[in-house]
């Protein structure tokens, strides 16, 4: 069965620090990969997505993620975080071969100290 692992449950950073949140998935075939973000009091929204092509994808608000097939990873990065990045971040996967349910990781809570 497909699964997604986010090993960092809570990350605390100071403003301007660099960020990397880990995401690993288990699925043998082609995959579609997503990062969603949930800001306090708001609904989940898409941060970025990977379907195919360039494994380095850029999303909104300066975020990027790199798909490394050999490591089954899709880590999220941002060179310099801001206080407004405080949120919960979810990695998600769907199989690339057919429309299907989306499997989410357990989420990483990011707290930014001003």
């Amino acid at each position: 069965a497909q699964s997604v692992s986010q090993h960092n449950h809570h990350v605390i950073l100071s403003e301007a620090a660099s960020l990397e949140l880990g995401c690993n998935y288990s699925y043998g075939g082609t995959v579609n990969l997503f990062w969603y973000v949930q800001y306090p009091g708001q609904h989940l929204q898409l941060l970025l997505k990977y379907f195919s092509g360039d494994p380095l994808v850029k999303g909104i608000k300066g975020f990027e993620a790199e798909f490394i097939k050999s490591k089954f990873s899709f880590n999220l990065r941002k060179p310099s975080v801001q206080w407004s990045d405080t949120a919960e971040y979810f990695c998600a996967v769907t199989p690339g071969s057919s429309a299907s349910k989306i499997i989410f990781g357990s989420g990483t809570r990011l707290s930014i100290r001003p």
Partner: protein
């Protein structure tokens, strides 16, 4: 409407009562998903509807949970004989047909069983 709409936004019910949660997806979206988000947990998949295909019910935690989608649009998640462990935020999402699409989430229904 412009986004996924869920009602009610909050629901407090007594243990043993039945509850119905409603989801209005984005017009034209053929895929609809239900997830459950408990405090400190990730998004637990419940059920997935895609067009006229049989729904993927593999995530429903017990036979007390059921969902239907009438006319390919509005969906209702029903929980019978509610238990305290059912307390959570229930999220609905919808997406266009196909495997390379993102899901759009509603604000959720916060269910509290007392």
């Amino acid at each position: 409407g412009a986004g996924v709409s869920q009602s009610p936004s909050n629901k407090v019910t007594e243990k043993g009562k039945d509850v119905e949660l409603r989801c209005d997806p984005i017009s034209g979206h053929t895929a609809l998903y239900w997830y459950r988000q408990s405090l400190g947990q990730g998004l637990e998949f419940l059920i997935y509807f895609q067009g006229n295909s049989a729904p993927d019910k593999s995530g429903l935690p017990s036979d007390r949970f059921s969902a239907e989608r009438t006319g390919g649009s509005v969906s209702t998640l029903t929980i019978q004989r509610t238990q305290q462990e059912d307390s959570a935020v229930y999220l609905c999402a919808s997406s266009l047909a196909g495997r390379r699409t993102e899901a759009f989430f509603g604000q959720g229904t916060r269910l509290t069983v007392v």
